[in-house]
């Protein structure tokens, strides 16, 4: 259940964006989570809802996009992007793989409610 710690950081990040733009509140936000972070999107969304209470992000709608890592097989050379975290090459089942990326955790888009939208 590391989702709550991450949700707390996510609230701080999105509230920071809202304050920077003088927003009244956050309506929606989207984040990209690398599969290696092992985040359960539904749990992150629930945790975010709780962590956002009494902040500018209270009630904001969070969308979580999971980003797969790139798995490069050192034996057969296949490059795959398995949606689940895998320990073998999906093509030749070799364990001799190199896993790249999939560890990102980014806030990618924020929709803010501002007072004087022109």
């Amino acid at each position: 259940m590391h989702e709550f710690s991450i949700a707390t950081e996510l609230v701080a990040a999105v509230v920071g964006e809202a304050e920077r733009h003088g927003a009244r509140r956050v309506e929606r936000l989207e984040c990209q989570c690398g599969a290696m972070r092992q985040i359960v999107p539904a749990m992150l969304i629930d945790a975010f809802e709780l962590a956002a209470v009494d902040t500018l992000a209270e009630g904001a709608q969070l969308t979580v996009k999971t980003v797969p890592p790139t798995v490069r097989c050192r034996d057969c050379g296949a490059e795959t992007q398995p949606t689940d975290w895998a320990v073998e090459c999906p093509r030749c089942t070799s364990l001799n793989i190199a896993v790249e990326g999939g560890d990102e955790l980014l806030l990618t888009s924020v929709t803010l409610e501002v007072d004087d939208e022109r």
Binding site: S5, M36, V87, V99, L106, V110
Partner: protein, 212 residues
């Protein structure tokens, strides 16, 4: 109003971690964040390591735990300055707690500061504490497939210590298989297989720390 951003979710934590790193660098201190599961042998590793560094590096330990001051007492018994950081149930150390605590250490008198994280393979892997070296600690009692199950830690680690090698005859832990899983994620990190309890094979680990 829609804002496209590309912002690290951990920006707040990472900014404080950067402050810690800058402060330590200013004093010429190297800090080592030890991350491993509960009972992996992190404190025992320190108990075996610290006496070997005595006279060569001036050390101190920040002991992260959910509760009790047991671990800090074990380190203090060696004559090494130790500070207990209690998270009161929190599952990992964060950069803010470390930043505030590290300033209470006599920084001008130190070369190497160990930060023993809360026993947990998942949450601590997400949080930069401002350390120069991240070390994953895994014991043979936990199973050789742990790097595959907790990839983020093993990807991030600058070194991996496999502890409790003395238990190998009693547990089904395949060292080669474990190393294979680590190498899927991390080609560069040195891997030190040792027993802190018997003192077996500690030398390479100590040499690595001396040159860190």
């Amino acid at each position: 109003m829609n804002v496209e951003v590309m912002r690290n979710v951990f920006a707040r934590n990472d900014a404080l971690a950067a402050d810690t790193r800058a402060l330590l660098t200013q004093y010429g201190i190297v800090s080592v964040n030890l991350i491993g599961g509960a009972g992996a042998g992190k404190t025992t590793l320190l108990e075996a390591t610290l006496p070997k560094l005595a006279g060569r590096k001036r050390t101190a330990v920040l002991e992260g735990d959910i509760a009790t001051t047991h671990d800090a007492e074990r380190i203090a018994a060696l004559g090494v300055p130790a500070m207990q950081l209690l998270t009161d149930g929190g599952c990992h150390l964060g950069a803010a707690l470390v930043y505030n605590s590290i300033q209470k250490l006599p920084l001008a008198e130190l070369d190497l500061v160990f930060i023993e994280n809360v026993g947990n393979l998942v949450c601590p892997a997400n949080f930069d504490l401002g350390e120069q070296r991240t070390v994953a600690v895994l014991s043979t009692a936990e199973g050789d497939d742990k790097p595959a199950k907790y990839p983020l830690l093993f990807k991030r680690a600058n070194a991996v210590v496999l502890t409790k090698l003395d238990l190998l005859p009693h547990v089904s832990f395949d060292v080669e298989q474990c190393i294979r899983y680590i190498r899927q994620l991390n080609e560069a990190a040195p891997i030190f297989a040792l027993s802190a309890k018997t003192g077996d094979s500690l030398d390479d680990w100590v040499t690595w720390l001396l040159s860190a």
